[in-house]
Amino acid sequence: MAQGIDAGPEDANFKVASSPANAQKQPPPESPKSIKTRGFVILSFWAVVLLLGLPVWLWTTSIHRARLPLQHMLDWADGKTCKPTFPLQITIEAPFLQEPEAAHLVRMTQHALDDLNEFSAHHLRLRLAKSFLSRDFQNASMTSIEDEYAIGPLTQFGNTDGLDEEALTVRLQPQPGAQTARAELQSHSTRLDVFYVSHQSPSVSSSSSTLATFIATKLQELFAEEQAIVAYILQSAQTMGHAPQISSSASSASREFRSRSHRSLNPELAARLDSRMTRSLKYAPTYHITVSLFTPSAAPSSWEIELALAEYFTPLLDSISGVSNFTVDTQVQLYATFSPSVHSPEYDAEQQIWTLREEDLSGFINAAEWPLSPSIGAGPTLNFVLYVPDRSTSPLVVRGSQASSWLIPQWGGVVILNPQNANATLNEATLLKESIQPALLTFSHQLLSFLGAPQTPPSLPLQLQTLTRIRAASLLLSASSTMGSLAWVTVALPSIAIPETVSSAVDTTLGHLRSTCEALKEGRFKDALENARIAEIQAEKGFFEKSMVGQVYFPDEHKVAVYLPLLGPVGVPLVMSALKELRRLWASRKAGQPG
């Protein structure tokens, strides 16, 4: 400063000349008290900003995020918490065998089964029928044998009563005169009749028996498909569950599990199961079924669907009502045309048929015009479409395979109903129930495959049991993976609010998942399904919480626009004064130290 003044001597001279008395007047030195006061003023301003302003700002702009048990949720998604097992109880009735013999046979069959089974999560446990035991006089010794097999692998769960649902009853009956043993599955009950040649029944001392091996093979055959499906479900859950991995510890346990399940699935089977699983619908407690009649002209305009349904369709629905409920509605739609993207049927003069191209089947349903909207109410809708082609373009079939029905995965099935012969009275105004029958039977098959029921064994009750187990397993896994996704979303999006309802839904889900897992281990599959169902519903409820999904979009530009007019003019003097004060303090300390 002094330099600057010295640099302009002319100016200074001029100034001096004009007002010589005022030149170079210095302000009086500041008192230390006022300097101190100023320091305190600045300090107190900053104190207000930091202790009051900042907390209030943080508090008013914060988002409520309920606490979630993130680690537990991730563990469930990774399959660390629960490894579902499926112990199936099979009772063996051998009324014509001596007790030691029977017990020995059971033991040997069990050994044979264990040897055959490669997939340990799903295993069959044999035991002798209780009625048979009570009839016996040597009760005590038998109980010990039974315990050996029933409790053996499950000691941690206390007692055999856990396995109260028996999957299958094997009834051994001697058949004199036959050369080989033979097994027969009752198609309307859970009983397998085994007819054996009397000399095949093993003596207590023998270490191997053809009958035991025979029974074991038969049982293994019966449950092979179920095992494959369960293995497939567990495996796909493992591979998919790891997609949103944030906890980097890809659990070694699950990896080991995956490799193990891989071993039991050959790629061919896996591909087949894959297509079947993508075809089947997600489990729901209620399904709506819509049976629709479509025709490109005005006829047939009515059908005896009520009678036909009652006769050919409702019995099936009644028998599977234990798994899910079904509502059925029907409709008739006239003048239903193909969508313009589909090639119109072409005439094959050789075979005198009209053909649809196979690649057009996916566009066969004219979604824009055909009123096939989902039914109102909870639960997915299955559409079964009966298409009656115009008389001028019938018979109408798919080119190549000459099929007249096909499935649309997770949506429904289509059947083209062609008249039996050209002169048939099919295209009259009313479709009789006899002519609907084949279509309804096709729909029944399609329905079962939509539900994910296995094709073997041929006994319907067994299929339904299998369905229960498969559904429980897939629900358990889907709810777990939903938990994982929720945890992932929570971590990945720090700006979304998490209301308390989500937290409570997560708690309920985890609780029910735990009981599902226990019920599966104890073989209570119906309980497991019930719990898994609640877990799934709660998990979905938590994940799709409205207030969480619809987060307020408040872009940064808006924040700047709102904050800057206030914070700019207020902040600059505050910061500048603080800097000045700090510089002064630093200078004074520097000056003080040497002095």
Partner: protein
């Protein structure tokens, strides 16, 4: 004997069936003087109540049926309308006004419920579902737009007694809704033949929404015959439109009207200035000669389910012109003329296209239009941003009998009427006459929760007009409550007028009710500048920053005398800046030289 009785029984059954066909449709064409055409499409579907409840749908569409069952709605009336019915020249309304709605969308339904809240929840469900089905903003019918009329609507179903079966009537309207093609498409999808056959093949969005007035209606009700046979559910879909014949006849690819060449111009010779030089074009003689294809763009594509159980064809098209007019047909249809000499109907076979020509040959006469029983017009009065008024003119044209009716209005909550200013007076009298309004039902508005509901029982003496007025205040809305394009104004739903049968003859109690709707009103509200929040933020911030800066400086700055300040030494600054610039220049030129060197 047994055989004969069986035969008789089956004959009887057949008769019953044919007496109540499951589906029928009828198009009524009514040329209106001078150059308009009223086309009324009516589609009626029936199903037994049992099959409906078991969800076996045939002619009642599944989509609508399921919605009604889900929302436990017993009777539904849905209306989509645009335009204004010109009752001065078109006369009385079709269907006695029962099949029309106010401008926009109007909906009323009888909903089952245990309580008001219960029925309202179902009403909301119904609106949401219908909104999806008809691509209309019906989901915006919330508590502020819903009312429970007391006197205006009566159930059309014959089965129920509204009070005993816990049925609640709810009414809602959306006057702002623009009805367009996206509403017609789902409407047509509900028909059994989907607009591909029958009279529905004439319905085309381009023509329908080009009409001077149009109304689409859906009515679902249950009917129990008095003879005790099975109850049925009946769905009636109606489309009424008044087409301007000249406008409709313009080709679609060349829709711009062009002047008629002078040699084709028909002059109105009755004008005093008529002569060779001046011509007043007369539209009376342009007249009504048209074909269906000219008016609707295509002929009728056969008929839809027109055969009854005996194979007899039902009439599907009727045209209301005097018998002396020439009507030509293309296509084999069966013509029947009515005895009164005013209309003829045609039964069309299923497959062939049908074309009808109203010829220009012969006398160009029309059927006489009937006089409407009441003229009603409503308008706003008042000025300014704060206060306004509503004035309704109700004219009874009848010279002999007085008329009694229910006047029903719903006002949005931001329009706050003063009931003490509600007055009714005869146009001839200067003071109010207390005996005009016989009954008043008034439910005041609650801010943001419900609108005003006003139902008045009014009687107008013969050959006189009544002016009904009241004043209201305009509320100021919150920033977020303004719709997009708030400066356009807010639509106020049309008033609904239900004409009561005159008390003189008791036999007319059974006659169909008559309805009239006024046009909707556009209410301008004080509208803020919508950049306001940011302006407020910035202004407040500036004031706060100014205040803060002043106080802060007062506290922190040291004050010294003016002569004690170390002034800005301009020359020194200049020298300093010059030095900096010189250094920079040096550096740049030095670099340049270096660069040159490296290049060389």
């Amino acid at each position: 004997m047994k055989h004969i009785s069986c035969l008789l029984l089956s004959l009887l059954l057949g008769l019953l069936v044919s007496a109540d066909p499951k589906y029928k449709e009828l198009l009524n064409l009514q040329p209106l003087n001078p150059a308009s055409l009223l086309a009324s499409f009516n589609f009626k579907s029936n199903a037994s109540l049992q099959s409906y409840e078991q969800q076996h749908f045939k002619y009642i569409p599944r989509s609508l049926g399921q919605i009604l069952q889900h929302a436990k709605t017993r009777e539904l009336h849905l209306r989509f309308s645009t335009g204004r019915w010109d009752d001065e020249s078109w006369g009385a309304r079709p269907w006695g006004g029962t099949k029309e709605g106010g401008t926009g969308v109007e909906l009323w339904a009888w909903v089952e419920g245990d309580s008001d809240a219960d029925s309202f929840a179902r009403w909301v469900t119904l609106n949401n579902a219908l909104s999806g089905l008809f691509c209309a903003s019906l989901n915006f019918i919330d508590s502020t737009r819903s009312t429970r009329p007391r006197m205006t609507f009566e159930p059309a179903s014959s089965v129920f007694n509204a009070s005993s079966e816990n049925l609640y009537l709810l009414h809602g309207s959306l006057p702002r809704e623009v009805v367009c093609t996206e509403n017609l498409t789902p409407f047509l999808k509900l028909l059994p033949c989907k607009g591909k056959a029958g009279i529905a093949s004439l319905l085309d969005g381009h023509k329908l929404f080009d009409a001077s007035w149009q109304s689409m209606a859906i009515d679902v009700r249950s009917v129990c015959p008095e003879n005790g046979s099975e109850c049925s559910i009946e769905m009636e879909q109606t489309v009424d439109m008044v087409l301007d014949v000249d406008r409709s006849k313009r080709p679609r690819d060349n829709p711009i009207p062009r002047p008629i060449p002078s040699e084709h111009l028909q002059c109105d010779q009755s004008k005093p200035y008529a002569g060779d030089e001046a011509c007043y074009p007369s539209d009376a003689n342009l007249g009504q000669s048209w074909t269906l294809a000219e008016i609707f763009g295509r002929p009728i594509q056969g008929s839809c389910l027109a055969e009854d159980s005996y194979g007899q064809l039902r009439d599907s098209v009727c045209i209301n012109v005097p018998h002396e007019r020439e009507v030509n047909l293309y296509g084999d249809a069966v013509e029947t003329k009515n005895e009164a000499g005013t209309s003829r109907c045609f039964a069309i076979p299923a497959s062939n296209p049908f074309e009808l020509v109203l010829s220009h040959i012969g006398p160009q006469t029309f059927n006489k239009v009937s006089q409407p029983p009441l003229y009603a017009s409503r308008s706003f009065t008042g000025h300014g941003q704060e206060r306004g008024g509503v004035q309704t003119l109700l004219t009874n044209p009848s010279t002999s009998s007085s008329i009694q009716f229910v006047y029903f209005e719903t006002l949005p909550w931001f329009m706050k009427p003063y009931l003490h200013t509600l007055t009714a007076r005869l146009t001839t009298a200067s003071t109010t006459s207390p005996d005009i309004i016989e009954e008043t039902f008034y439910r005041p508005a609650l801010d943001r929760r419900r609108g005003t509901q006003l139902e008045l029982l009014i009687s107008v003496p013969a050959d006189s007009a009544v002016i009904l007025t009241y004043d209201f205040d305009k509320a100021i809305l919150r920033y977020t409550e303004y719709p997009p394009d708030a400066n356009r104004g807010f639509d106020v739903a049309p008033a609904v007028i239900r004409l009561l049968p005159s008390s003189g003859n008791s036999s007319s109690n059974s006659q169909a009710p008559l309805y009239i709707r006024t046009s909707s009103l556009l209410l301008p509200l004080p509208t803020p500048d919508f950049s306001m929040p940011y302006n407020v933020i910035i202004l407040t911030s500036t004031v706060m920053a100014l205040a803060f800066g002043m106080i802060f400086n007062l506290l922190v700055r040291r004050f010294v005398g003016a002569d004690e300040v170390e002034g800005w030494n301009l020359a020194a600054l200049k020298a300093k800046a010059r030095g900096r610039v010189a250094v920079l220049v040096d550096r740049v030129s030095g670099k340049g030289q270096k660069l040159e060197k490296t290049v060389q």
